[in-house]
């Protein structure tokens, strides 16, 4: 199972980002979300969504094996074991592996909680195989 995004349906509202931060960090802070929203305005006027495909490339390079599988079959970061080496970041083909030390003292990524899907009003996000 993985998260899918249809950028053409995204209206750029960022509800997914808040819901994500709330589940992942128990905080209201869209800067601490594991999806990426890139607006392209004023021209051509489209939103681009980037989401984790659960490809596992991040886990494969993690030297501390901090990126593990959860019971949803998704890779997640065990915050306690992340040493902030950032090896995972360039490996991510979708740019959704995050390290921002001013915001958190561990890397983070999508753990497939599904809360972003719950708040998306335009059906731009869904979970499927």
């Amino acid at each position: 199972m993985r998260l899918y995004a249809d950028s053409a349906k995204c209206s750029g509202c960022r509800a997914c980002l808040v819901a994500c931060s709330l589940n992942l960090f128990q905080e209201s802070n869209p800067k601490k979300a594991s999806l990426n929203l890139i607006p392209h305005f004023p021209n051509p006027g489209v939103f681009e969504m980037k989401v984790c495909t659960q490809c596992g490339d991040c886990a494969a390079v993690c030297p501390t094996e901090a990126i593990k599988l959860n019971d949803r079959g998704a890779y997640y970061v065990d915050f306690a074991e992340c040493n902030l080496c950032e090896a995972c970041v360039p490996e991510c083909p979708e740019d959704v592996m995050f390290v921002r030390t001013e915001l958190a003292n561990a890397a983070w990524k999508c753990d497939l909680c599904g809360d972003c899907v719950s708040v998306c009003g335009t059906s731009a996000l869904w979970i499927a195989n």
């Binding site: 960022r14 509800a15 960090f25 905080e27 021209n43 708040v119």
Partner: protein
Amino acid sequence: MNGYGGTILRVNLTDGKISKELTPAQLARDFIGGRGFGIYFLFKEVPKGTDPLGPENKLIISTGPLSGMMAPGGGKCDWTTKSPLTGGYADASMGGHFTAEMKYAGLDTIILEGASAKPVYLFIDNEKIQLLDASSLWGKGAIDVEVELKHKYGEEYQIAAIGPGGENQVLYACINHDFGRQAGRGGVGAVMGSKKVKAIVLHGTKSVPVADLEAYRKAGMALYKACKDAEGLAEWSRYGTTIVTSWCNEVGALPTRNFSAGSFEGIDNINGQAMRKEIVITDKGCFGCPSPCGKYSNMKRYNTQVEGPEYETIGLMGSNLGIGDIQVIAEANRLADDLGIDTISAGSCIAWAMECYEKGILTKADTDGLELKFGNTEAVFTLIKKIAYREGKIGDLLALGVKQASQEVGKGSEKFAIQVKGMEQSAYATHNATAMLLAYMTCDVGAHHNRSWAITYDLQVGREKVVPEKVAHIIWLQNFRPMFDVFGSCRLQWVELGIDRDLYCPLLDAITGVKRSWQDLEAVGNRIWNLTRMYWVRENEGFGRDWDLPATRFYTEPPKTGVTAGQITKFEDVQRLLDMYYEQRGWDNNGLPTQATLETLNLTTLVA
């Protein structure tokens, strides 16, 4: 403080001093946020008789407890000031992502004070706050400025900017943000321009504390679920506010040729369906919005893009100018946005000028040679530019707003200046819609619709009826609907999706830790309504009943065409509406809140 950024930021443009204070807990308790904070600071801190475009006026920018939170439509930012257009209270609600960014920078309110000698922009990145030189940005369009500043600082930074209209202090200049969202009405952009502030750049990465995290998550999710389950979601999201265009035309409420009629022969080319088919490329939502009303459009004929036009712009820049072409309206919208003038007021001013021209009150000698007939597209584009730059006699005249312009021109043109208290009426023709008429008459910024949008209610209960129940409904809406401007969120989920408003109470409770029912919240709304009224009283000698009269046209000149042909509201009914309204509000016969009313609302100390 739970649910708040926790800080009030003051920026004195005169001496460059930047200071912070903690958001007072009592202010949060009594006024909650948003427009509540706005009127509190305006009333308390801006001296009586202040020149709206002088350094003593303040521009007060506020978030609310739902801003930036997991709350449907938590993307509204309130801009309060003394209006240069009306000389009274003004607040403009701006969507987009600015309010969330403010909150995440830890700010509940930014107060711009004084005036800079040179163009500046305010830069805020969490704790780093600076006034920076904006001389290279001055003179540029608001959209270009946003592009430039986003390019310089990055996509995460949110920008609010004025265009040349604000720099030149057009009295209804707006503030632009997010490539198409505005703090539109009352001339907030002119006030920003008078302070020589070209833009605000904002970035915040702090988390917002909440009282009960699990309850917050549960209540937020419940609201999103209600929105997503709503029957009307798909249709609403497809058309946004333009969904009402055809309906307004059918019931004679679509402003046509300076509100001389309420139905337009070119409706099929300007309604929501035409717009969606011809120009819309993307839906665009404000922060946290599950039901995006924003429609982003590409105008092939002009090779340009704009967010919009939304219904009000279609009305004022379309049918009201005799223009039946959605691409023309959208291009006029883009020009007005980039140049930084409010599409509603600008459309109304141009329509008034066109009527003057067709009646021979204005001639080519007054219009810089423009053939100002209804439907003249090129004249509309030219006039928008002339207004923004106050160019020529006609540009300078129309930059004053329709009330002042008509007073200058005279010759009976005051009678078709469609405004209340100096603010141009938004896009509902009210020849025969007495609830909506009363809403415009008594709205606390002038003739604006969002406090009490009652046009559908008029049709439900009988449009010509003048009964106490109708007046009570308007008062209820005026106390209740602006509370969304207090929360820092959007009212359209309640209005358009019909979700249960009681769902908001547990969310506010979980976020702020303060339990409030809608009865409590409406009491706050009523208190704010009376305070804004007292601001008008304080700032305008002789303020009273006459200030609440509607545009003369609605009680003297019935439309000749459309479903409202031959219909107007009788003047004695206008007066009866006011009698009932004042009585139910606890105001005297001249429309002033009585001492007893102020005491009941615990406002006597504040207004003393």
